[in-house]
């Protein structure tokens, strides 16, 4: 890698880091500047970035990644319950456990490719979900979800004399509670680190190999090259990313529910990645943000808030617009999301990143677009 490439890489990650860390400021005007949603943006960003390492680079479409998300969450809550409320062991424990499950499931599912692989991963995730919801209730607390209780052992907390807590039990990183904005910055820093790792993977020889598998696996196999170990590694890495995301979900909000593993959750990360742009580094993060924004903000509008939002308009226009818009917000937010999926993918085959690329093209008519585009977007 040349010096120039390196400096481009550093500046990219710097811009990315800056954008993520200032999110509370620039997302406020659109109503998304509150800790919980910011945390969700960042956590699902990690999930999607990890998913993209598998899907974007190798073309293997897993429909069961939510299983690792769920496993990460359960592992974290169990770590809280047994070891104590410190997040460090929880994160490590989750990543290792999710990684081992990924190794096992990957070992079996990667024997097949294409849609057969997708259905195999889906089957494993659905089995996890169904069992977690019912017969595994002693481990997962089923429908209600696994929570930390005051009666739990929390060995290290008691060891260091922090066993008795008056208020609610909060997760902490050496004294800083991982709720609200500190929680967000913790997740944000992890996103920046994992994003950087993903970027490096993509550009490493290993990443090149994965891309070669995507373009023509058969040919690679004919040359006597065994692609399985590479796929297996990619699968484990993306499983660990999902485990980390699941762990962070439980850290910022110590509850792990089974529906995190349902196929709809697996489908969601697929949609995030495609919506943002498969194979691009930044796309999945954008896709994750967009879907979570819709889920949390569009669903919260009702006729009253709409009226208030449009109050700067004349009354008659306000009423008309409220009537027109209201089917698309509140309980109709799914409709808007579905329509958005269609519009984006019909007009922008590469997702949002494609659209951004085109806009950049417009503003830079004289420059050769290709290379600057990818560089500036990472």
């Amino acid at each position: 890698m040349s010096k120039k490439d390196l400096s481009v890489e550093y500046s990219t990650i710097l811009i990315f880091a800056l954008a993520i860390l200032t999110m509370p400021i620039w997302l406020s005007p659109i109503g998304a500047g509150y800790p919980d949603l910011l945390q969700k943006f960042v956590i699902y960003g990690i999930f999607a970035v990890g998913f993209n390492i598998l899907f974007g680079l190798t073309g293997y479409l897993s429909f069961g990644h939510a299983a690792f998300l769920g496993i990460g969450s359960y592992a974290t809550v169990w770590s809280f319950k047994l070891l104590g409320m410190n997040v460090i062991p929880a994160v490590i424990f989750s990543i290792i456990l999710a990684g081992s499950f990924a190794a096992l499931i990957g070992y079996i599912t990667l024997r097949r490719s294409g849609i057969y692989f997708s259905i195999l991963t889906l089957a494993f995730a659905q089995m996890c979900y169904n069992l977690a919801y019912s017969v595994l209730t002693p481990i997962t607390n089923g429908e209600t979800g696994l929570r930390v209780l005051k009666t739990d052992p929390r060995i290290f907390d008691h060891l260091f004399g922090r066993g008795q807590v008056d208020g609610p039990l909060l997760t902490d990183l050496f004294g800083i509670h991982m709720t609200g904005y500190p929680g967000f910055y913790f997740c944000a820093i992890l996103l920046i680190i994992t994003y950087y790792i993903a970027m490096r993977i993509k550009r490493s020889p290993f990443g090149m190999m994965l891309k070669a598998i995507k373009s023509n696996q058969t040919r690679m196999n004919y040359t006597g090259f065994n692609t399985r170990p590479y796929l297996q590694t990619a699968f484990i890495i993306s499983g660990m990313y999902a485990g980390l995301a699941g762990s962070l979900l439980a850290i910022t909000d110590p509850l792990a529910g089974a529906e995190r593993m349902q196929w709809t959750a697996s489908g969601e990360v697929v949609l995030m990645t495609i919506l943002g742009g498969v194979g691009t580094s930044l796309g999945p993060v954008l896709g994750a943000g967009l879907i979570k924004y819709f889920e949390n903000i569009f669903s919260s509008y009702n006729d009253n808030t709409l009226h208030a939002a449009l109050s700067f308009m004349p009354d008659w226009l306000n009423d008309v617009l409220t009537i027109i818009i209201s089917p698309f917000v509140g309980s109709g937010w799914h409709l808007t999301l579905g329509a958005l999926f269609m519009i984006i993918i019909i007009f922008l085959p590469g997702g949002i990143m494609e659209g951004m690329g085109r806009i950049i093209q417009i503003f830079k008519p004289n420059k050769p677009g290709g290379s600057t585009k990818t560089a500036s977007q990472g």
Binding site: I115, Y116, L122, N130, L271, L335, F341
Partner: protein, 337 residues
């Protein structure tokens, strides 16, 4: 013994439903190469053809119920009953089977519009793009139905004469406990005949021959001067009709709501893939296999041996089959691998 016979019947019945739902999906997979996540929505639209037709037939004279003062409650008498008396009543009674007549043209139209307006532009796009656009379409269709019909299930009844159970046990000289609902038997027969009709259509007609040829080698067929595009449109319409009919006939068993399609989506994908991509016969046999295994796994004797087995049996079987047979039961090489 009765218990086992009953579970065999349950399995056949489920299998018929699974096979019928999967048939349309595998047809689209095999011929057009499209991953259609809106397939469940087609099933749902079919079910709501039955609901709408029933609403149409029971369009009523509303007589205000004066005993209730706080809100408007009406005693409703359908116009059909007012005009034609018992004949009208009988027509309403048969609304589900009659709505097949409506569902066929409606679903054909829906299918053709979908293919012409959207799907055809995605033949050359990646599977990822296909997934996103069809999933988006499915959500939009669902939400439109929800807007008009609400989120609650809407009950549809089978005609009075077949609403009860058939006393199979008594006929065969077995136990009286061996009974099975008439409508489920009808559904089984119906799905078998639709499956047979689709096979006959593809095997015995020139049209079907061309389509099958197109499934194998689209380019060559195109080079022969055959307009394969138009035929593909018709295939999509056909698949939509098959899925829609599956939905119509299922309404008396499962009161439909706007979400019913999503619940069958995953299942139909599993059935198709276990059967093998691009194989109609595979989808049908996988449907019956999964149906029967699921029924047996739900028996109390088996559940007490392996707790929770009925929750995961379908996926477990899918994993085992795909590991033993790389392309499912009857999959062809190179299709979506």
């Amino acid at each position: 013994m009765d218990a086992i016979l009953l579970q065999v019947l349950n399995g056949l019945d489920k299998g018929g439903a699974y096979a019928l739902i999967a048939l349309g999906l595998t047809l689209i997979f095999g011929t057009l190469g499209i991953v259609n996540f809106a397939h469940g929505a087609l099933f749902m639209i079919g079910a709501f053809c039955a609901v709408s037709f029933n609403k149409l037939l029971t369009f009523s004279i509303k007589v205000k119920d004066e005993s209730i003062t706080f809100f408007d409650a009406y005693k409703e008498v359908p116009y059909l009953e007012v005009w034609w008396g018992d004949t009208g009543k009988a027509i309403i009674d048969y609304s589900v089977p009659l709505s097949i007549l409506i569902a066929i043209p409606v679903m054909l139209l829906v299918g053709i519009i979908m293919e012409r307006g959207l799907i055809r532009h995605f033949y050359k796009r990646t599977h990822a793009d296909q997934i996103l656009v069809t999933f988006g379409l499915a959500i939009v269709l669902q939400e439109i139905i929800k807007h008009f019909f609400g989120a609650n299930p809407i009950p549809q009844s089978a005609p009075e004469i077949v609403a009860g159970s058939a006393a199979i046990g008594t006929w065969l000289g077995l136990s009286d406990n061996l009974v099975y609902p008439w409508w489920r038997l009808i559904y089984l027969g119906f799905s078998l005949s639709v499956i047979a009709a689709v096979f006959a259509f593809l095997q015995l007609t020139t049209f079907g021959m061309v389509v099958r040829a197109g499934m194998h080698d689209r380019e060559t067929v195109g080079l022969l001067g055959i307009n394969i595009e138009r035929r593909f449109t018709i295939v999509f319409g056909l698949a939509a009709v098959v899925s829609g009919l599956a939905g119509v006939m299922y309404t008396p068993i499962l009161p439909p709501d706007y979400h019913i399609g999503m619940e069958f989506l995953v299942l139909s994908f599993v059935v198709v893939v276990v059967g093998g991509m691009g194989s109609l016969g595979g989808a049908v046999s996988a449907g019956f296999l999964l149906g029967i295994l699921q029924s047996f796994a739900s028996m109390n004797e088996i559940k007490s041996l392996i707790p929770g087995i009925d929750q995961i049996i379908i996926y477990l079987v899918a994993v085992v089959i795909l590991l033993v047979r790389p392309r499912g039961l009857m999959g062809r090489k190179g299709v979506m691998e």
